[in-house]
Symmetry: C2
Subunit: 273 residues, 2 copies
């Protein structure tokens, strides 16, 4: 029996997953959240399936120790590499960011040509293509890894000629192929959405899986009768943040993304899980 | 009693330390090397002192299990954060890259103004400044963190207008201050030495701690009578490489740096150490 007033667990390799948290806060404000960012081992996007799965499994154990009622894998790499395996081992509902993003892209495309940008791991896994083809086998999916986008975002160059230049190099081939829909397949990318949009042009629809994931979470909680029933305010303890390293730095970055006022972030050593 | 024919242990957060290995191979070709790159947890440069020290301690235990006769901390961040503490706990000789780099910079400067570039961690620790001032208290040391250099090197943009542009942004203030010596305080940076040199101009001497560290290792082995005495060839087993993730990718990158033909790299899970 799951406690419907328990928090939702959300995790990511570090800070990118906060773009998903931001959407959950907006769309389902009556839910508690426990967030974990694996800042001691980030990034995941350049690492192997085995390693990302081992790390994700430890985090799921930690979130279960926090008695969450559902888990959102707010990281494209972990969704691509680890979700299917860990879902089988876990008895609470889990959703990733890939499936909702894939579904939204199929709904958005008119010409059947969809682009996906993400980390080396996400693109190498071809997982967006797999999910898209399950829904719509004739859709053509073109993936492009963009390894420099994460460090550029983390350096704060959200609007910068260097980011423009790198975006042009990465995205030109997608434009040449004539895609009409582009999935922002890494949770950092919504932060450089305007740069990506400018390079791709107005005719290309950008799909933000963070938005779609929050919508799917809302549906899931509703279908399974897991929505929080407390009617009084949820108080200061409503959103709790944990990281494996650098709590102060995380807090600063987090406050620039979610603008909700993160009060504190606690350090957890993952090797114990 | 240390076995003088045992290998030298060298470690880094990932691949940067290979620039140190390359110098050891050149300067002391008669030594065996066991290299460990912590590719499952890289980078270290954005992480905390506690985390980097914990990781480094695990790696030292692994290298001791390989019966190395000395350990080279071929990572500026680990040298800055972890070396002093771990050296006290360990009974085999250890050297880092910071002290040799600091010494060489003091010898190189004429006007007493030395710049240091490195990761956030290395620069934040002020360790180069501390070591330089121990030798030469009147020397002025100016540090500058360059977080994008590592991802740019790993993306292969060793010679590229984007790297030029980022280098100009990072280095202009060091030029304005009028330094005559610049320490490449991260083991990745020798790979973009020509870009850094072009931006700084001919009058600024670039100090590569990798070179100085290999020289210091040679001296140490000689002073302590730990030089390898085998006169026959050391065979295929002379250089052994271990990583915590992505062995194939490591091998490819390694072969682009050391051009010696790395035969194989084995995976080790660090959490067991």
């Amino acid at each position: 029996m799951i406690n419907r007033n328990a928090p939702v667990g959300v995790f990511d390799s570090g800070i990118g997953g906060l773009t998903v948290v931001r959407e959950i806060m907006r769309q389902i404000p009556n839910e508690r959240i426990v967030y974990f960012g694996d800042t001691a081992r980030l990034p995941y996007g350049s690492k192997s399936k085995e390693t990302v799965t081992r790390y994700s499994r430890q985090i799921v154990r930690f979130l279960q120790s926090q008695e969450v009622k559902a888990i959102v894998v707010a990281c494209n790499t972990a969704s691509a590499y680890a979700l299917e395996e860990i879902e089988r081992e876990t008895d609470i509902p889990m959703i990733g960011v890939v499936k909702p993003g894939a579904k939204a892209a199929v709904e958005a495309t008119s010409n059947g040509k969809v682009g996906v940008i993400g980390t080396e791991a996400t693109i190498g896994s071809s997982i967006y293509s797999r999910y898209i083809k399950e829904i719509s086998p004739e859709t053509i999916v073109i993936g492009k890894a963009c390894p420099l986008f994460v460090p550029l975002v983390e350096e704060g160059l959200w609007q910068d000629p260097v980011t423009d230049e790198i975006a042009k190099r990465y995205l030109t081939e997608l434009n040449d192929i004539g895609i009409d829909t582009l999935i922002l397949g890494c949770t950092h990318y919504p932060l450089i959405r305007s740069t990506v949009g400018r390079v791709m042009g107005e005719k290309v629809t950008l799909v933000n899986p963070a938005y779609e994931t929050a919508r799917e979470l809302k549906e899931l909680l509703n279908t399974r009768e897991l929505e929080n029933e407390e009617t009084a305010g949820l108080g200061d303890n409503r959103y709790r943040f944990y990281v494996s390293d650098g709590a102060e730095k995380f807090k600063q970055f987090a406050n620039s993304i979610i603008k909700y006022g993160i009060l504190s972030a606690k350090i957890i050593n993952m090797e114990g899980y």
